[in-house]
Amino acid sequence: MADQANTGRQETAAPTPAYAIELKGISKAFGPVQANKDINIAVPRGTIHGIIGENGAGKSTLMSILYGFYKADSGAILINGQLTPIPDSQSAIRAGIGMVFQHFKLVQNFTVLENVILGAEDGPMLNSSLAKARKVLAGLSRDYELDVDPDALIEDLSVGHQQRVEILKALYRQAEILILDEPTGVLTPDEADHLFRILKGLKDQGKTIILITHKLREIMEATDNVSVMRRGTMVGTVKTAESSPESLAELMVGRKVLLEVEKKPATPGAVVLQVENLKVRDEHGVERLKGISFDIRAGEILGIAGVAGNGQSELLAALGGMMRASGKVTLKGADLPLSGKGADGQSRRSAGIAHVPEDRHHYGLILDFTAWENVAFGYHNDPKYQKNALFMDNAALRADTEAKMATFDVRPPIPTLAAKSFSGGNQQKIVVAREIERNPDLLLIGQPTRGVDIGAIEFIHKEIVALRDQGKAILLVSVELDEIMSLSDRIAVMFDGRLMGMRNPETTNERELGLLMAGMSGES
């Protein structure tokens, strides 16, 4: 095994203390799935090192091994040249590793200070710890542009600030090595820029940073070196300056990839969806949609941009029949009930609306169900899935699933496999296949490529454009500006439950949209 480890990977052959982290021959299997195969990686101290790869390529598994969540089946971890076993996260922290997760692990009703010392208190009494933390935090804020009010409650902070608290937590525990997992997913472009400034500051102070992301642009912008993973193996480590987005994408997928979406100009037809003064209140009575109006024509993609949590989810939920709303919505001239009878997912589907929800784990799929059971999800009343009045036709469903899996290139194409056993991209393909193949008049699609690998992104984008070209109306909600810009025929930015005017993707730019996303509108 040691022999195999050295073939073709010179940079890991000779360990020197110049490396903050070295992983040697790391392998990890979950049952029959080999998540990591003989991974070798060496991260020089004081650099920002990107790890990029398709979903299911094994990035998260590798980082979980490094942080002590999983135990590798074989291989060794060296920290600063020292062999360091990491059986649990406490050992990882002791070894100077800090992790900022994609989903923050903060106590919402604690202050920043309380969150920072949580688990790192000096003794049973909190006062001395809090005072010490206050001093340390003041220093860190000054040094790294990491300013956060230490006495603010987490629930009152913006997502960008919450992320800073996570970084402060790691630094307070004297992390020398910082791992960030998809850190920009929830940030505005401005906040992301700020984050990268913070990371560069940390690097200049000699900290080592590992950045896991699927965004090639961020890799190009922020990292010194980048390692590419594909299907559980490390396919190469390159200097960022000597690579290009295209070459990295090709390494990730193993073939040439179109980064731009190819699409003809839209030929909008009649109005399909008309929304007037739509208002939604959540279960606490807070108004989440404050009266928005727009329309979508046949053969047109309307993109809704915005930072997560500004009412986009509620818009999809209200149109998808999952949430009560008020106002007036018509689909091809017919009124859609917004509350009471007829305001449910079944009625919406029979009206001709398909819905790819933002969160496939929570809404779009039942993870414990098999793929074929998920293909029936929402369409379980469809006559073609019934054997007779009493029983469902499970065999027909399995056959239908097999066909969909072939058309949408779902891997592995096994209808009886549980949804949770598929990678994110393949899960999303199952949902998209189920909804698009219904041939709907209107497709609601939220975060179509969140947590989806590049190969699948390309595929899903093509399907969305193809549906538009068939003359269907599409409402696209995404926090990925690139996605909105490249797919939409018109762009509306959502901020604080309102639409900040329409923009034409040909004439607008990221900067203008970024300002609108932050609630600053020049004109409208």
């Binding site: 392998s27 299997a29 979950f30 049952g31 089946d73 074989s74 998808g320 029949g321 999952m322 449910d344 997912g345 079944q346 009625s347 919406r348 589907r349 819905h355 929800p357 929570h362 809404y363 779009g364 799929l365 039942i366 993870l367 414990d368 169900f369 059971e373 029936a376 999800f377 929402g378 379980h380 009343n381 019934q386 009493l390 029983f391 469902m392 499970n394």
Partner: protein, 364 residues
């Protein structure tokens, strides 16, 4: 956490849990100065060693299949129905009212009517907690527990003040007419060669087995079952799919309550021939353990019901033939429930560790 192979998860985990329970039970018997080998011997011979013993074991099994299935159906809808006991007793009231209402021409007709009565009363008793859960968000675990007590009190009232024949001392209904008596296994041609007279196991056993098949078909082959399972796995996802939560909570609890109620066919109509206080004798609660151990699958439920039937009958034999007190039966049952239900995860982790340990040399 590491995953176990399916066969280990389904077969090995319950077996090892049982082994643990048996070992601790043996220690308890040793501690009270008795002989565990003698105890085991008595239990096995008494419950499984003769057709007579089987006649009792299967009688208990029948009740446990019903209550185990009741818990299973609710569980798949994400609802923990602890009210099987109360629903079973109310089912008994339904049986009694039907059996005493009119003179029945034949046991088959009486059985059909009494089944409907049992199911309707059991379902009705589950409907109120279900409604409170669906409309008001009152937690079904709390309400079904409370309804067990309310049900018991209601039965006492009915027996003492309404259904007790004039001049009778004990709180019970009159004996059911002879025409409502269900054939025991001894009365069934073919089986009568095996089972002697006086065994309590009766035709209800076959209804229970049919119910197991029906529950299996319902859950995995019908639209309703599909919606029940989807709702049970994820309520937000069910809302996305347009599955009506109110409808699913109500229907699954009605089915669950009906299954609990149906158990009364076995004990009230098949065995006692009248309704007495506390007719279900804890079978509603045993159903929870049966469902847990049976992994909420009808096949598992039937197998687990046989096991608990054995424990019930074997435990009774202990009290009968040895100086070991009958209360030990409760101890053994408690340990089985503890290990198969509550400590299930512990055994699983232990096994995962063993499997890993075995797999390790292969990887290196």
């Amino acid at each position: 956490m590491e995953r176990l192979p399916k066969w280990a998860d389904v077969a090995l985990v319950p077996l090892i849990s049982l082994l643990f329970a048996a070992v601790i039970s043996a220690l308890v018997i040793l501690a009270i100065g008795k002989d565990p080998v003698e105890a085991l011997n008595t239990m096995v011979t008494g419950a499984l060693g003769s057709a007579y013993g089987w006649g009792y074991t299967l009688y208990y099994t029948t009740s446990f299949i019903f209550t185990g299935l009741a818990v299973t159906v609710a569980f798949h809808a994400g609802l923990f129905n602890i009210g099987g006991e109360g629903q079973a007793q109310l089912g008994g009231l339904g049986v009694a009212l039907v059996c005493l209402a009119v003179p029945w021409p034949h046991w088959t007709v009486a059985l059909l009517a009494a089944s409907l009565g049992a199911a309707a009363f059991g379902a009705a008793w589950a409907a109120i907690p279900a409604y409170l859960q669906a409309k008001r968000g009152s937690h079904i675990v709390i309400t079904t527990i409370m309804f067990n007590y309310i049900g018991a009190a209601l039965i006492v009232y009915m027996l003492v003040d309404v259904l007790r024949p004039a001049g009778q001392m004990d709180p019970a209904t009159a004996n059911f007419p002879k025409e409502t008596e269900l054939p025991t296994l001894n009365h069934i041609p073919g089986l009568n060669l095996i089972f002697e007279k006086g065994v309590p196991a009766n035709v209800t056993l076959f209804i229970a087995l049919a119910a197991a098949v029906a529950v299996w078909a319902l859950l995995w082959h019908t639209r309703l079952g599909y919606q029940i399972r989807a709702f049970g796995k994820s309520e937000p996802a069910a809302r996305y799919a347009g599955i009506n939560p109110f409808r699913i909570i109500m229907i699954s609890m009605l089915i669950s309550g009906a299954l609990s109620g149906l158990m009364s066919i076995n004990n009230v109509m098949g065995e006692a021939g009248r309704l007495v206080q506390n007719s279900s004798e804890g079978a509603g609660f045993i159903g929870i353990a049966v469902a847990l151990m049976g992994r909420n699958h009808p096949i598992g439920v039937v197998l687990a019901a046989v096991l608990f039937g054995f424990l019930y009958q074997g435990g009774a034999e202990l009290g009968l033939w040895t100086s070991i007190p009958i209360e030990l039966r409760t101890v053994v049952q408690g340990l089985v429930i503890l290990f198969t239900g509550a400590l299930d995860q512990m055994v699983r982790m232990l096994l995962a560790w063993v499997f890993n340990f075995r797999a390790q040399p292969r990887a290196a």
